[in-house]
């Protein structure tokens, strides 16, 4: 039962990692660079939610607002920075994204200060399900994330723009030859990537404390999950986030709390040694 409880604890943590990893993997799959500003867009989402929550008292409305703002910020970063650097090397884009993240963090630091802030929600006792303690707030958050995920996968797999995105991800040259307009696809992609990570930001903010550095600190596990899941595969990122979160918590009785992070990375290493393409990724052909 102790282990089951640890797994539940890990699932909720994994969900936050999953959302950030999905955003990274989407951008990587299509624009082909690791977006280091992902964490800071997440922070933007958290602060946006924090502004709306006291006014409305509704987690859903805060989530929607955060998703909208984060999507707008991600789109703006594309229009103002990344689009102009299209075709440059991966390193140039990576460095630019670190810069974008730095600017976002500094703006938030100036606007909101560095003191930790919280969503002041009424605290509730957990539901007991056969000895398992499940927090109602976690359930709400998981629901919010689930809605976001279903929407994201629906857009990717059921809409024309999603199909175009996947076409560009599969083979940009072929997509262009087939008459897919990359401008629209890119804009849609950034909106989607921002929206996903915005939802993650609200979740992280509600669960922890909101500060300008919070998203940047999430970047390592998120990158790990994106690679672990198979870069470019949203479903893989989702799965990998869960596995990392659960493995971390389940390992604590054996390795203690100090080394649980190291252990989750060790698991990632082993999987990548056996499957270099990640959980659900495919080995890329030489282009």
């Amino acid at each position: 039962m102790y282990f089951a409880q640890l797994a539940v604890n890990g699932l909720v943590q994994g969900l936050v990692i999953s959302l950030a990893a999905m955003s990274i993997t989407l951008v990587f799959g299509i624009v082909r660079f690791p977006n280091a500003a992902t964490g800071d867009v997440m922070t933007v989402g958290a602060f946006s939610g924090l502004i709306v929550y006291p006014l409305t008292g509704s987690l859903l409305l805060s989530g929607v607002f955060a998703v909208a703002v984060a999507a707008a910020v991600a789109l703006a970063s594309h229009l103002l920075v990344f689009r102009r650097l299209a075709g440059r090397s991966v390193v140039a884009l990576l460095v630019a994204s670190i810069g974008v993240g730095f600017v976002l963090r500094s703006i938030m630091g100036l606007a909101f200060g560095h003191q930790p802030m919280v969503f002041s929600m009424p605290l509730s006792r957990p539901y007991r399900l056969g000895g398992l303690a499940i927090n109602p707030l976690d359930l709400q958050l998981a629901l919010l994330a689930l809605v976001m995920l279903v929407l994201a996968f629906a857009i990717l797999h059921l809409t024309p723009i999603g199909r175009q995105m996947r076409a560009v991800a599969d083979n940009p040259a072929l997509a262009r030859v087939s008459g897919i307009r990359s401008g629209r696809v890119m804009a849609a992609l950034w909106v989607l990537a921002g929206a996903i990570v915005g939802a993650g930001g609200v979740m992280l903010g509600v669960k922890t404390v909101v500060g300008p550095e919070m998203g940047w600190d999430m970047l390592m596990p998120a990158f790990a999950a994106a690679i672990f899941g198979g870069i470019g595969s949203p479903a893989g990122a989702l799965l990998a986030g869960f596995i990392l979160g659960v493995a971390q918590e389940m390992s604590t009785p054996f390795v203690g709390f100090t080394y649980k992070i190291a252990l989750s990375f060790a698991i990632m290493l082993i999987v990548l040694l056996k499957r270099p393409s990640g959980l659900l990724g495919r080995i890329e052909g030489v282009r």
């Binding site: 560095h114 930790p116 006792r125 303690a133 922890t208 604590t252 992070i261």
Partner: protein, 406 residues
């Protein structure tokens, strides 16, 4: 290409000269003793930094008004650490290399003091800090005996926790520590003192910073059924831990250091969660004459009572003790001044509470400065032992109940 490089160099030189113009608070003149004020004006230490800096200035003014130390006026160069070790190191470099200060006063937070101390050691000048990490007491940080600490060590905090836990009648304490020198220092200090009293610790956890949840850590601690949980933590992680603890519904009391259990924590969690928490902080030497003088200066500079900022009282004492040591040494040669630090601050000698008083008394014999922050009696590591206050959170207010001496 040549032109741009020249422009770049000119720009850099200009930028480097800028702080030279703005950093000096007093007019530059020959025959002054240059001191660096290196405080957390922005960042996490922001609530304290400005007051700390202003009290260094105020104490230096008092020294200058009394005719200066060893015939030299004091000149303060102020920089901001931004509560960030990297920024602090850059600022310290600038103060040491460009301004040629003879001591750095008032670094806050252990990470910063530990980052800056190699620089002051290399330069052969003093560093006076307000940090808690035990590592600052011993080599390599304090290999030259040039580092002085005006705050209680984390170890002493731990001893105060043990005193309070005993007084409150707790039997089954557990500990949770943030994984850094300060957090572990607190709980290790508690463990040593508690076990010396014949007590036993039922469970302990060292947790990683920046986690989204500490529920598994709490599960392990709460499984041991502790009656009190002693923390070595900061306000951010404490917020998450207390929230998740409250949601479990299991009763427990908490002993938390004052920098984590402060009004921010109460505001973040609401009065229900934090009710009954014991917040432990070092207290200023509030009955002393020096404190009254400090309080007056703090009111004048900041418009708030001096009790608002224990660290500002420490920086006030730093400047005063340093000036007294210079006066006693009769020179600004820092090696000689350093030898006098213990002499002017420790017992045996006329008790004095200000620079002017001490300067007079030094003409006739040895002195013992009794400060605003503590009676700064340095031990062999340059550490002081302030008193501690146990405050209880009641209805969302942090009320001081009693003073603990260790």
């Amino acid at each position: 290409m040549n032109r741009t490089r020249r422009e770049f160099l000119a720009g850099t030189a200009g930028a480097m000269a800028l702080p030279l113009l703005s950093g000096s608070v007093f007019a530059q003149s020959e025959g002054t003793l240059r001191i660096g004020a290196l405080n957390p004006v922005t960042g996490a230490g922001g609530p304290y930094g400005e007051g700390m800096q202003k009290m260094i200035l105020a104490a230096a003014e008092a020294v200058n008004a009394a005719g200066g130390a060893a015939g030299q006026k004091i000149e303060i160069f102020a920089e901001d650490t931004q509560t960030d070790p990297q920024a602090a190191v850059l600022a310290a470099k600038k103060l040491i290399e460009v301004n040629e200060v003879r001591a750095l006063l008032g670094t806050w937070s252990s990470g910063i003091s530990l980052a800056v101390v190699p620089l002051t050691n290399d330069a052969g000048i003093m560093l006076m800090n307000t940090s808690g990490a035990p590592a600052l007491s011993v080599p390599p940080a304090n290999e030259k005996g040039l580092s002085y600490r005006f705050q209680a060590t984390n170890d002493r905090f731990g001893r105060a926790f043990a005193e309070i836990a005993e007084k409150e009648g707790f039997k089954r304490p557990a500990t949770m520590a943030f994984n850094n020198a300060s957090g572990i220092g607190n709980t290790e200090g508690f463990k040593k003192a508690w076990e010396a009293k014949g007590g036993e610790i039922v469970s302990s956890v060292v947790y990683e910073p920046k986690q989204t949840s500490y529920r598994s850590e709490l599960m392990q601690i709460l499984a041991a059924q502790p009656d009190v949980i002693v923390m070595g933590s900061y306000v951010g992680d404490t917020t998450i831990i207390l929230r998740e603890w409250y949601q479990t519904g299991q009763p427990a009391k908490w002993i938390i250091p004052g920098w984590a259990a402060n009004s921010d924590l109460v505001a973040a969690l609401g009065p229900d969660v934090v009710e009954g928490i014991i917040s432990v902080d070092s207290v200023s030497n509030e009955e002393a004459e020096a404190y009254a003088e400090y309080d007056k200066a703090y009111q004048a500079a900041m418009g708030k009572p001096g009790s608002d900022n224990v660290y500002a009282a420490m920086t006030w004492d730093m400047m005063t003790v340093l000036a007294l040591a210079v006066e006693a040494a009769g020179t600004t040669d820092m090696a000689k001044v350093n030898e006098k630090m213990h002499e002017v601050a420790n017992p045996d000698g006329t008790k004095v509470s200000s620079f002017a008083e001490g300067k007079n008394a030094l003409k006739t014999g040895s002195i013992n400065y009794e400060g605003a922050s503590s009676v700064p009696d340095f031990d062999e590591h340059g550490d002081v032992t302030p008193d501690f206050a146990a405050s209880f959170v009641e209805d969302g207010k942090i009320n001081r109940r009693y003073i603990v001496k260790i």
